[in-house]
Symmetry: C2
Subunit: 201 residues, 2 copies
Amino acid sequence: MARGTASPEIEQLIQLLARLPGLGPRSARRAALDLVKKKEQLLQPLATALATARDTIVTCEACGNIDTVSPCTICRDETRDRTLICVVEEVGDLWALERAGVLQGLYHVLGGTLSPLDGIGPEDLTIGKLVERARDPKVVEILLALNATVEGQSTAHFISDQLADCGVAIYRLAHGVPVGGELDYLDDGTLAAAVKAKKMV
Amino acid sequence: MARGTASPEIEQLIQLLARLPGLGPRSARRAALDLVKKKEQLLQPLATALATARDTIVTCEACGNIDTVSPCTICRDETRDRTLICVVEEVGDLWALERAGVLQGLYHVLGGTLSPLDGIGPEDLTIGKLVERARDPKVVEILLALNATVEGQSTAHFISDQLADCGVAIYRLAHGVPVGGELDYLDDGTLAAAVKAKKMV
């Protein structure tokens, strides 16, 4: 052990943990110590869960969701409304919508947003595949559920151009005051959108 | 897949990741997605590193440090000053002192602090072993490097009572203004300690 460092095995573990989103170098050290301390209850099950995930998780060839089967369980579900495709940036967004339980349709995971500065163009996302799916006469509606960020909105704009001649209705999510949100903490853009889209009570 | 949940393999991974310190349920989901997305670069190496840690890391029988050998590399290091034992709460504190490179002696990891409310008494820490080590005539000085918290300080107090008849000099870390610290942001106790222990320039 060099002065000031742990053994190479632990250093390796710390460095990998530090690459997880949400963990910095300091919290990765704490996590590694905690793992070694709880060998039976945490380290061993996590090693097994990672090995299982590595061996079983695949990306759905139809929608880009992750699951142990492809097409994924959502795409296979015959009770789902096959006339609606909801487009999301990442699998995490799909999960959020599924947790809310507000959509009965299918999904399409783009795998990110257009970002010319980072060299991410339309061919790096699954936009071509989406256009192909939208051409299926069964599909009636496409809901663009992208983040309300500059990148999300410019990607949504690009996609609606691409879908223009597919004969589908294209929607986006409504803007407004988040449920439980306090007006005093909202940005001007959200307030303006909420006033513009006011509803009669 | 039940509505609103990922596949059981991913849910299992998320739940284990959420038990790491510093990761909540939401960041554990993000971490799991990131792992699955970066199978070759992150998931696979992390699974291997965890398996290696599980198989190779042991607790040093002498000082309580973690390493791949026992006694640990620090305890085996013949260049270390064997007259000084620095007592710390956790392995993370040992690492912090080693990173600072300020101690040439050996360490003793307590494994926590006394906490009667949580049912943690002296027999749950390595205090008995410390007293045993302190009785070694080679040991001259014990430095209690415990956290400056109520638990840390009451544990330090208890330990110095236990060590009273071991014939060793017992020290604690100095209190004062942290290097780079701004007075305006320090608590009254630290300021009082810094004034009381003022040094001539």
